[in-house]
Symmetry: C2
Subunit: 224 residues, 2 copies
C-alpha cells in the first residue's frame, strides 16, 4: 500500500478513544489528566495508555499528568482531524441516513459532500440538506472535486461494483458498511464495519453463559 503506517493498528484504533475522552475532560473543565484516569475513562489500563501515547507525545509532567488541551490538539493533528476530509456517501437508505446524520462525525472532520443512490425514488431528494444524486454521477463528481474517501452503505451485492467505481475515480480510502469483502488494489485502504460480527459475538456470549469454564483468559475484561 502506498501510505505507510508507523504505528501498530491496535494503537491507532485506541487513539480516537483517548481523543474523545480528552474532549469530555476538557468540556468538564479539567486541565490535566493522569494516565490512570484517562485509562479508566477510556477502558484501558494506565500502562497501555502511556505506551500508546508515547508513540505521539513526549510531554507530560510528573505528578500532574497530561495537559489535556495540548494532548488533544496533538492527537487531532496526528490523526488528521484538524483537516476536514471530504467524502462521498453511497446509499441513502436507513443506514446511509443514520451515517449522514451521525452527530459525532463533524468533530472528527468528516464532511460528506454528496450522497448517491441507485433508487429513482430517492434520487432528486435530499439527505441532511445534501442532494441525493444518481450513482451514475459518482465517478465524475469524485474526479472533479478530487475526493479521496468513500463511504459504502448499500446492500452487499452492489458493494464491489461501487467500490471499483470509487477506486477508478481516485478514492483512496473506503469505509465499508456493506456486509461484503471488497477486492481493491493494494494502495486503497478498506475499513470494514461488520455489524453482524458484533452481534454474533454477543449471541455467542449469551449462549455460553452458565456453561462450564474452558478458558477464562481470552475475554477477561468483558469489553471487546
Amino acid at each position: 500500500m502506498a501510505g505507510l503506517v508507523s504505528i501498530p493498528k491496535p494503537t491507532l484504533e485506541r487513539l480516537p478513544v483517548y481523543y474523545r475522552v480528552l474532549l469530555q475532560c476538557r468540556d468538564a473543565g479539567m486541565q490535566y489528566v493522569s494516565s490512570g484516569e484517562l485509562g479508566r475513562k477510556a477502558g484501558f489500563d494506565h500502562a497501555q495508555v502511556r505506551k500508546d501515547l508515547n508513540h505521539i507525545w513526549s510531554g507530560g509532567r510528573p505528578g500532574l499528568g497530561y495537559e489535556i488541551e495540548k494532548l488533544a490538539s496533538c492527537l487531532a493533528d496526528f490523526l488528521g482531524l484538524h483537516n476536514t476530509t471530504d467524502a462521498v456517501l453511497v446509499g441513502a437508505g436507513r443506514l446511509g441516513t443514520a451515517l449522514a446524520g451521525y452527530p459525532g462525525f463533524a468533530s472528527y472532520g468528516l464532511n460528506i459532500v454528496a450522497v448517491f443512490d441507485a433508487d429513482p425514488g430517492r434520487i432528486g431528494g435530499t439527505l441532511n440538506e445534501r442532494p441525493i444524486l444518481s450513482v451514475t454521477k459518482l465517478a465524475d463528481l469524485v474526479e472533479r472535486l478530487g475526493i479521496r474517501m468513500g463511504i459504502i452503505a448499500i446492500p452487499a451485492e452492489s458493494a464491489q461494483t461501487v467500490a471499483e467505481t470509487m477506486v477508478a475515480a481516485g478514492i483512496q480510502a473506503i469505509w465499508n458498511f456493506a456486509p461484503a469483502y471488497l477486492q481493491v488494489s493494494d494502495n486503497v485502504l478498506v475499513r470494514n464495519e461488520d455489524l453482524a460480527a458484533g452481534l454474533a459475538t454477543l449471541s455467542y456470549y449469551l449462549k455460553e453463559q452458565g456453561l462450564p469454564s474452558v478458558d477464562s483468559g481470552k475475554l477477561s475484561d468483558g469489553q471487546l
Copy 2:
C-alpha cells in the same frame, strides 16, 4: 465474567464472516468450498481459515473442501444463531432507526422486541412496526420478559445511566453504539461499536498517503 469463552476473540470475530460467505456460496448453488476460496471471499488467507475452523469443525474432505450446508449449520449452532435472541433497543433516533431496520440482523437471529426513548415526541410512535416506549418502562419490560441483550443507540451522556438500568434489570450483553465507555459489572459483556475510531483510522491513512515509509508491515493488506 460468568460465561467463559474457549476461543480466541479474533477467531470469534472472524466466524460470522465465514458464515456470511458460506450463505452466499450456498445461495449461488455451491455445495463445497475450499479453504482457499473461502478465505479469498472472506479476506483471510487459507491457513487462517483452516486454523479458525479447526476450533469448531473436524470434517472436511481432502480434495473437496468444506461441505457448505453442514459447515454453515455448525457455525450457526456454535454462534447461537439458530436460537433467536430477544433484545431491547434504547434510542429511536437516526442510528436506532437504522439498527431497527438493518436487514442483515434477522438472519443472525436478532429480534428487537421493543424500542425505548426519552423524547416525549417519539414515545407512542412506532419504529419498524414496534411501539416506542418511554425509557422509564425499560426495567419492567426487561425483567418481565427475561431479556438478556440490550442495544444502546443514544448520546454518550445518557449511556451509562441506561446501561446501569439494563444491568439491574437482568441484561447480560450490551451492544453499545454510544461513543462512551460503559462501566458495568464483570459478568456483563459490552461490545463497543466505535464509529469514530473507524473514521479516524481512515483519516490517518489519507493524511499519511505519500509520506515517506517508516514501517510497511503493520497494515500491509489494506483491510482493517
